[in-house]
Amino acid sequence: MLSKRTVIGLLTAALLSIPATVQGAEKVRVGYSISRTGLYAVATPVQQQTYELWRDQINAAGGLSIGGKGKRQIEFVSYDDQSEPSKAAQIYEKLISSDKVDLLLSPWGTATHIAVAPVVERHKFPLIGSTASTTLVRDLGAKYMWFTEVTPADFGGDLPKLLGSIGIKRVAIIAMQLPLALETKKFLVPALHQAGIEIVFDQEYPPDIKDMTGLLTSVKGAAPDGVIALSYPNDSMLYLSTAREVGLTAKFQFLEIGPTEAFIQHKFGENLDGIVTIGHWSPDQKAWPKARPFYDAYKARFNEAPDNLDSVVSYMSAEILQQAVEKVGLNHEKIREAIATGTFDTINGLVRFKGATNVGTPNGYLQIQKGVPQIIWPDQIKTADFQPKGPWK
């Protein structure tokens, strides 16, 4: 049948794709969208840098191996989605149907991934998600999308196990009113009840909070021995400076996102020691031989350490794509098959997928110790033992 899409394909090819064919013969075009501006822009540079590192590493090694039949250089096609998920969906539509890229990498953020999912499904274009963590997509039954990151069900649900193992009995929870934090909380609270850990304080706060003195004074008044802050980078910063001022001295202090960010490390230095956060990767884990080289390469290139979460899951998604293409070439259906059934050796160990979920990488928690994030849980991948948070300096 001469479908609508064929007609359009011919028309667009005639009108638009001339430059694409000229360059496309040589290079593999890899498309993605990223938030360079807007609300998310603060978090996206690490992912973008990771992609660039990956591309340059591959190109320096002669290019991306296509089904074992020769190598081609990688070229990026990327756009700014302005932190608007609907714009990101438009961008993937454009990348697929008008830019005709060969492969796709993921955008930044959960909401953005969710928005993009229907587009890649419709076009049957495989996309390995990275910096997104939600159970909403797990239930989508997506066939062309996978996630390298573990879900909030894991890092919310597992936290009481860590708490139990280090003897924390009374916790205070504060949570940002944004999706990731709220979803984590949804899994955290029942798990705490189940583990018999008492919640002595529980409050949320809006994204535009400017001062936490009132909130943390109340937390301190509840005298918890563990504080769980389901936070984002900006409010993690507020938490750290305010917790020092009000003298919050719980021996377990958890910040969901932020402690591994470079700017927070610059700002707080040794005061960050003892803070726990989510993360399942460390360059010091000897079981993952690729981990340390990645760390060193990233540090050499950008003069700062890679983010233990975002950089890692982004790099993993690129590695998986690279290995799938090396095996089966550029045919999307074959790539899908390869990703869905294969096992992949990444900087965070072996990855395989069950549905959209990465079942190879275990969930874990990091603690900053002497300025270095160490895995403190679970036991099979830990690189250091938990140390109670010392006094603020």
Binding site: P45, Q203, Y205, K210, T213, L215, S241, H266, K267
Partner: protein
């Protein structure tokens, strides 16, 4: 509840709010321009301080006045290149609030995106005066205390400038009534240039102050702009004292209010109080009736 700790925090937050609002209000009061790019000047000031600290090792406290001067220069440039013409064009000044809002909005978009191109989207922060200082029963990190002191002193300085100097008097006269001021020999144009310099300069200084304790990134400005607008409406447009009091009031609301009603309702509380005050007193807390119309 009435803890000294909360009071110090309220002052630290409120004094910076006040500083933002004063600069914003000057530009509104004299020319009726709604400067929604004010927060972006704050951002530029913060970056300037950050770079001079991390590259040239300039003490941020010493950098504050120079950053202010730099921003004042930008203000002068903005006046000469854009707003001199703007203020002379009748069809623009007819609906001056809407039009100036849009011009500054355009500038804001351009500044933010240029900044993100030039400085990258990576947030920055630096460690400075990072000891916790005890004052009575309260403690505060040194850099926040420094920010508090600088912000308060600057606010008071601005206030004195407008009370005591001839130039300040001219600006106040223009705020009261442009026509009457011109009749008694105040040059509106010179005053406009001066307010642009002071308004932008204060924004830059705010940035330097904010950088002491906060993270810096290209899109940080908008939230400061919003805070500024809420305050100047609360305190009354064109009313400098109102802005200072309004800023401190918002700081109190932010700390004591959160402690009282819970952090969940922080933003509902702040905007709720704002809306209630405007509805009860359309001219703001300290405004006079005529300014509301």
């Amino acid at each position: 509840m009435l803890s000294f700790q909360l009071l110090i925090a309220a002052l630290a937050t409120g004094s910076v709010y006040a500083l933002i609002a004063v600069g914003l209000n000057l530009i509104y009061g004299t020319m009726r321009l709604l400067n929604v790019a004010h927060g972006d000047l704050v951002m530029l000031g913060a970056y300037a301080t950050y770079w001079s600290f991390s590259l040239l090792h300039v003490d941020p406290l010493i950098a504050v006045p120079f950053v202010g001067l730099l921003a004042a220069g930008i203000g002068a440039a903005a006046y000469f290149f854009l707003f001199q013409h703007f203020l002379r064009t009748g069809s623009l000044t007819d609906r001056i609030e809407a039009n100036s809002l849009l011009v500054f909005f355009g500038l804001s978009i351009a500044i933010e995106n240029l900044a993100s191109l030039a400085f990258s989207g990576n947030p920055q922060a630096y460690e400075y005066l990072d000891r916790v200082i005890r004052i009575g029963s309260a403690s505060i990190v040194g850099n926040r205390l420094a920010a508090l002191i600088i912000a308060l002193c600057t606010c008071i300085g601005v206030l004195l400038f407008f009370r005591l100097t001839t130039l300040g008097l001219a600006v106040r006269a223009i705020i009261q009534s442009r026509d009457a001021a011109e009749i008694v020999g105040v040059s509106a144009r010179k005053t406009y240039l001066l307010t642009f310099c002071i308004g932008f300069g204060l924004a830059g200084m705010t940035g330097a102050v904010v950088s002491l304790y906060s993270q810096i990134w290209p899109f940080m400005g908008f939230s400061y702009t919003i805070v500024g607008f809420v305050i100047i409406i609360l305190g009354g447009l064109g009313n400098i004292v109102g802005s200072i009091v309004g800023g401190l009031l918002l700081g109190v609301l932010e700390t004591f209010g959160v402690a009282a009603v819970g952090a969940n309702y922080r933003s509902i509380l702040i905007y709720g109080v704002f809306i209630a005050i405007i509805i009860i007193r359309p001219q703001g807390l300290f405004g006079t009736k005529s300014t509301a119309r």
